[in-house]
Amino acid sequence: MKKEEIRVAVLRIEGTNCEQESFDAFARLGVKPEFVHLKRLLGIDCTKEECRDIFDYHCLMIPGGFSAGDYVRAGAIFAARMKSMLKDKLAEYVKEGYPIIGVCNGFQVLIELGLLPGIDEVISEYPKACLMTNDSNRFECRPTLLKHENNGNCVFTGKIKKGEIRLIPSAHTEGKLMFPIDEQKRYVKMLEENDQIVFKYVNPKGEYAGYPWNPNGSVSNIAGICNLEGNVFGMMPHPERVFYRHQHPDWTRTGKLDEPGDGRDVFESVVEHLIKRF
């Protein structure tokens, strides 16, 4: 597939607010992103011309924000609406190998949808994990350091070497990844064995450290995970906010102004993957 042919849907509902940066990240790479309100996929309150099918796109992105005002739980309403009519289609989409990325609120949606962690089934009936309120009970908003832990399973980080540390900003109140309390160790072990852990929070030395390096108290410092097949990926920090080097807080000091920002590879990796795969 040629780069210009790749179509990406940046999904929105009321309260989504990171769609522009997400759209821009794809557009700058030369692929064709499109803002798609969820109702256009569900065929509700829109004309025939406005209706879309998820298979019109080669990649879906659920951007950050406060979808539906975070009512009930962060991401729960977005997920419930998607699941109501698109569950089987989404499962098919994922099985076909099309990539889906959820950032911040989008990660919360993927967890609530049951698409992540996606260990033993593509989409689970009920959530198998939770992104719970940060241990600090605050909105944690600052640059965070992420160590890339993946061995090549995740299609969104193919261009990042294992062990590399990237600065990607976090901005969330509900980012503490949890599994059923008495099974947390078992879940983390399974994720490790399946190569589903993608990013972990670290300190500047690259060590797994507690607060404030881990902004939320996430189990095993996990910041991002993918499903078993590696084509559904969710992370709390925002790669679309560090597309360019001048978006880094230290851009005047490092002399790296011409280099890309630390988040750009997430988008480049998936575009490269799509070109090769389809």
């Binding site: 009930v72 009920y126 959530p127 940060n134 949890m178």
Partner: protein, 82 residues
């Protein structure tokens, strides 16, 4: 018509940051006998149903499909005819 009162709380063993923050503030306000605060959320749901058993079953389904995340939440349901 039935009204279901769904009360959702965190499972035992799961830390409750909202409860902990509230506890701290209550102590600051001088309520020093307060030992623990746990936060809960309540939904009141009116349903056009005649059979309590059926209505309750539907509420349970609502809890599983949207109102709670089974990983962290536990809930109770009280049914009242209105």
């Amino acid at each position: 018509m039935f009204e279901a009162k769904v009360t959702i709380g965190l499972k035992k063993g799961i830390t409750d940051p909202e409860g902990a923050t509230t506890l701290k503030s209550l102590h600051l306000l001088g309520f020093d006998t307060v030992k623990e605060v746990r936060s809960q959320k309540t939904f009141l749901i009116k349903m056009d149903e005649n059979d309590e058993k059926k209505a309750r079953k539907k509420v349970e389904e609502m809890c599983q499909k949207l109102l709670t995340n089974p990983v962290i939440h536990s809930y109770t349901v009280d049914m009242k005819r209105v």
